[in-house]
Every structure is written in C-alpha cells, then in structure tokens.
C-alpha cells in the first residue's frame, strides 16, 4: 500500500541531471545553477521552518557568511574555496547556534522578526568592516580554471555539477532527517511544543540542531554562489530579497516536505531569471510581483502549498474510493 518516497525523487534528480546537456544554452544552464542553489537553500530553510515550525526570515545571513568566509580566505590568503566552504560551514553553524539559542525563547512572530534583524545586523557589520572591503564588496581574483580553485571560465557545466552535488547532499540530509527520529521530533515541536516536551523531547536542543544543519547547508551554497558570480557585496548577499525568495519558493511548493522547495524553485527561479533577461537589470522585481500574486492565490485556496493541494486531491479520491468500497 505504502509507496517508497525515493522513487519519484530519483526520477526528478535524474531529469535535472540531464537537462543542461539536452538544452546546451548558456542562459538555460545559468538558470539551472541558480535553480539548484535556491532549491537547496529551500531544503535547508525547510528544516527549521517547515519541519520545526520556527519561521526564519534571515537565512540570507548564513548564505552570506558562507560566501564571505570562503571569499576572504581565497582573496587574502589564496586558500582553496573548498577549504573555505568547510570553514564557512563551521562559522555559519557556530553563528546559528549562538544567535538562535536566545531567539528560541521568543515565540512565533517575534522569532521571525528576530531572525530578520540578525540578517540586517550581519549586513551592517559587513558594510562597516573595512578589512573585507566594506560596502564596496570583493571582486574575487580570477585564476586558472580548476576544480581546486572552484573557477571555470569555459563552460558552466562544472558549476552545474557542483551545484547539483550540493543539492543532492541537501536532499539526502533532509530526506534522512524526515524519515528518522529527528524529523518526527521537529514536526512534533511544530505541532505542539508542550506535547513534544511531555514525551521526552528536548525542544530547545532539537530546534538548535535543525538551525545548525540548516545554516551549514546554506553556507555551502553561499561559497558556491560567490565562486560562480565572482563578486560579492553585503547588499546582495544579506538582502531581504534572498531571505524572502527562500521563504516564498518553499511556501509555494509546500512546507515541511522535501519536494516543496524543488517545486517552488522550479517555478520561481525560471520566472525571475527570464524576467531579468526580458526586462534587464534585476528584472525590476517583476518576478517577485508575479510570485507574490501566486502566493496570495495559493494561501487563499490551499495554505499548504502546491503539494498540499495535490495531496488533498488524492485524499478526496481515496475517500471516494473507500466510500465506494464500503457501500
């Protein structure tokens, strides 16, 4: 009766893998890389918000810390971005632990606002920090393309492969968590903190774990993003725009489910990348306008996202079937 969830997932992953080879168009490949990064960020964010129910509006902070850590190490000390990625993960995880611990004492909206404030504070810190070029940002020095330097100038495929691997790792981690004790504990915390405590769940510690894993994954994508764009500044990395994109795409796709961010990113990212190409510059925010409208529609008709609507439909069908079987 119960189908394994892995099979459709493997199909989705295989399809994504062949896409850049089927349509070897630079714009399309670029869009795929951004899609993978944001779908991965969505997976990371989903752990703390979709599973554990703690709304974070500040995930850009962890993404930015990952990007800055590897970039500083590369720019100042010529340390490989791969090492930088690991250091970024460590820094981001520690920051997540320190800042979210006091925030977990806050309930509901206050927690969400606190996370937003944290991203804003981080941005201001980087803006006024001269050692890392402050508001000017850092142009990452171009070096020979190689895996070690995580720079590729002749093709986007290597970037795609790295993004793909990070994305798959995020999916595997999210999937593992969802299927095992931690996932159940996080969902229990989301549903009722008191009920969770009453059955022996240390809710603070589990929220902390979720936040740390989430921050670690976000940081890894930050490093990749920096190496891909080859330029970073505090405004683009710690922006509310990035935090909100992560939130919106996951909410649209479906919270608390590993497919949610994939579906949401598959809609939002093409929308933003192609409106950007069409309208020039940053796309004048047209993507977010359209996307916002979509969210309103989904929130009105099915607050549990596209996946929620799909599940409900199946349940109704199954209900009808049961009714027939009983008749």
């Amino acid at each position: 009766m119960k189908k394994s969830k892995i099979s459709p997932l493997i199909i989705i992953l295989l399809v994504i893998l062949v896409l850049p080879f089927i349509k070897a168009d630079i714009n399309f490949q670029h869009m795929l890389i951004i899609f993978l990064i944001f779908a991965g960020l969505g997976e990371a964010w989903n752990l703390i918000t979709g599973f554990a129910g703690q709304t974070s509006f500040g995930h850009a902070a962890f993404f930015g810390i990952g990007a800055y850590t590897s970039t500083i190490l590369f720019y100042k000390f010529s340390i490989s971005p791969w090492v930088g990625m690991l250091v970024g993960i460590a820094v981001s995880t520690l920051v997540a632990a320190f800042v979210s611990y006091p925030c977990f004492k806050l309930k509901g909206h206050y927690f969400a606002i606190a996370t937003m404030a944290i991203a804003e504070i981080t941005k201001q810190l980087f803006i006024s920090w001269d050692y890392v070029e402050g508001a000017t940002g850092i142009m990452i020095p171009i070096v020979d393309e190689s895996l070690a330097s995580m720079q590729f100038h002749t093709s986007k495929i290597p970037y795609f492969i790295i993004a793909y691997c990070l994305f798959v790792i995020s999916i595997l981690i999210a999937n593992y968590i969802e299927k095992n004790r931690m996932g159940f504990y996080l969902k229990a915390i989301r549903e009722s903190n008191e009920a969770a405590e009453s059955i022996g769940i240390n809710t603070t510690v589990y929220k902390l774990y979720a936040m740390m894993v989430s921050a670690a994954l976000s940081a890894a994508f930050g490093t990749l993003y920096a190496q891909y764009i080859l330029y970073i500044d505090p405004f683009m990395l710690f922006s509310l725009d990035i935090s909100m994109k992560i939130v919106l795409l996951t909410v649209l796709g479906g919270l608390g489910n590993i497919y949610g961010p994939i579906i949401g990113a598959a809609i939002l990212i093409p929308l933003s990348e192609y409106t950007r190409i069409f309208f020039g510059g940053t796309g004048k925010g047209i993507d977010l306008i359209i996307f916002g409208a979509l969210i309103v529609v989904v929130a009105c008709f099915e607050p549990r996202g596209i996946l929620g609507a799909f599940k409900k439909k199946r349940k109704v069908e199954r209900g009808a079937y049961d009714a027939k079987a009983n008749a």
């Binding site: 299927k179 989301r190 059955i199 022996g200 769940i201």
Partner: protein
C-alpha cells in the same frame, strides 16, 4: 513487603499571583498502585500535574520521582526518567497521522525507526487505533483523540503514567474499556495517577483516592473510606454518589 514510593509530593504550594492553586499538598504514590486525584472544578488538579511534570515550577515544596528530586526539572527530563502525563485539553500532533503521533512517542526509548515502528504497532492495538493509523490526528473524534493521548504517552514506555481526565467525553463502553486498560497497565507494572470526575469509573479501580478542594488536600484514603468522608461529600461528591454507593 513494604510499599516502595514511586512519586512523593512533599508540601507543594503553587501560586498564580494571589491565587493559591495548590496549598501545601503532600501525598505519595507507591510503585504498582493506581491512585486517583479527585476534586471539584478549579481544585488545582491540573496545576499539580503541571508542577509534577515540570511544566510549572512550584512556589515551594519538593517532588521526588523514583528516588530522584525532580522539583523544577524540565518536562522532557521528567519524561525521560519515566514519568509521562497526558493533557486534559488534548494536544494531538494534528498534522501528523495517528501512527506518526505514537511513533514520535516511541522514539524516546527506541532511537532506531524500525524498532520504534514495532512498538508503535503494539500501542496502536492496545488503544484500539490500528484501523485509524493513517488518519491525520487533527481529524479524529474527541474520544479517539483521548485514546491517542494515552497511546502517545504509553509509547514512551513510562514507569508511571499520569492521566488528566482521559475518560471525559467517552461513552459507557469506552469508559469500561479505559478502566480495563488502566488495570492492564497496572498489571504490567506501570504506576498510575489518574485525575477523573467519573466516580463510577475510578472508585472500583483505585487503590487509593486523594481529594483536593480549593488547592488543599482534604482526604487521602482507600475508595470506601473516601466516599464516606463527610468533608469530601460536602465538598465534592454530593449526595448523589453517596446515596448510590450506600445502596450497592
């Protein structure tokens, strides 16, 4: 054989501002006993439950569970020690299925999913929810939610279970089932502390009955004695149950 104490409540006082919800309450639940805690609405039963299980920190007094002082400890710590409670206002994990609810409880002693699944399956049978295992907990009837509440607590494999009005809203057959379940759990070695208003259900199964009134303990005795205690009758039982139990 000397009875061994499982839970000792020593001079517990709990205040909300000026309101004294529990005043110098002391009693002991011995291992393997079923003890009932009764009293009129607002007597402080749920408050005492919250103090015992760490949801409130008592104003003064001590709570000892299985030899360990648990006063002011966190709820999850108390549950890990083997003392699990249910909630009067049920708290189902709404967006999770019945089975997932129970599985979540079972993870406490069975970190590996396969083991936890096995335990959950057994618990589903015990609380008669097997055929509803794939339904979302939020859509259960109140009677089933009460069953789920007990099932989830049981899944943590407690040494002692505290039920807060787990029978309220059940029909006669369901109450009978719940009584049998309590006896069965006791036979399996679980100590029980039960808050209940349905006298017909708890008097026959209780080893002892503790009565609270306006925050104070007014009686602590075997059921027969408590039902004949003048103060208890005046405060709580009323003539109805008294007359009925005299007749039988």
């Amino acid at each position: 054989m000397m009875p061994k104490p499982m839970l000792e409540i020593k001079n517990v006082t709990m205040k909300f501002g000026n309101l004294v919800a529990n005043q110098d309450v002391s009693f002991t639940v011995n291992k393997g006993e079923i003890v009932s805690l009764i009293g009129p609405n607002g007597a402080g039963k749920t408050t005492l439950f919250n103090c015992i299980t760490g949801f409130y920190k008592p104003y003064s007094g001590k709570i000892i569970f299985d030899g360990e002082d648990i006063t002011g400890k966190t709820p999850y710590y108390v549950a890990k020690l083997g003392l699990t409670r249910t909630f009067q206002i049920v708290k189902p994990l709404k967006d999770m299925t019945v089975k997932e609810n129970i599985l979540t409880g079972a993870f406490l002693r069975n970190p590996v999913r396969a083991q936890a699944e096995k335990v959950a399956q057994e618990i589903l049978e015990i609380v008669h929810l097997t055929d509803k295992s794939d339904i979302l907990a939020g859509s259960l009837t109140i009677a089933d939610k009460k069953r789920l509440e007990i099932g989830r607590a049981l899944a943590t494999d407690p040494k002692m279970l505290m039920l807060d009005e787990a029978m309220a809203g059940l029909n006669q057959t369901e109450i009978k089932e719940a009584m049998d379940l309590c006896l069965k759990l006791r036979d399996e070695g679980i100590t029980l502390l039960i808050v209940e208003h349905i006298m017909e259900a708890i008097m026959p199964i209780s080893d002892r009955v503790v009565v609270l009134n306006a925050g104070k303990k007014i009686a602590d005795d075997v059921p027969e004695k408590v039902t004949n205690n003048e103060e208890v009758i005046k405060a709580y039982l009323g003539e109805r149950y008294h007359a009925k139990s005299k007749k039988s």
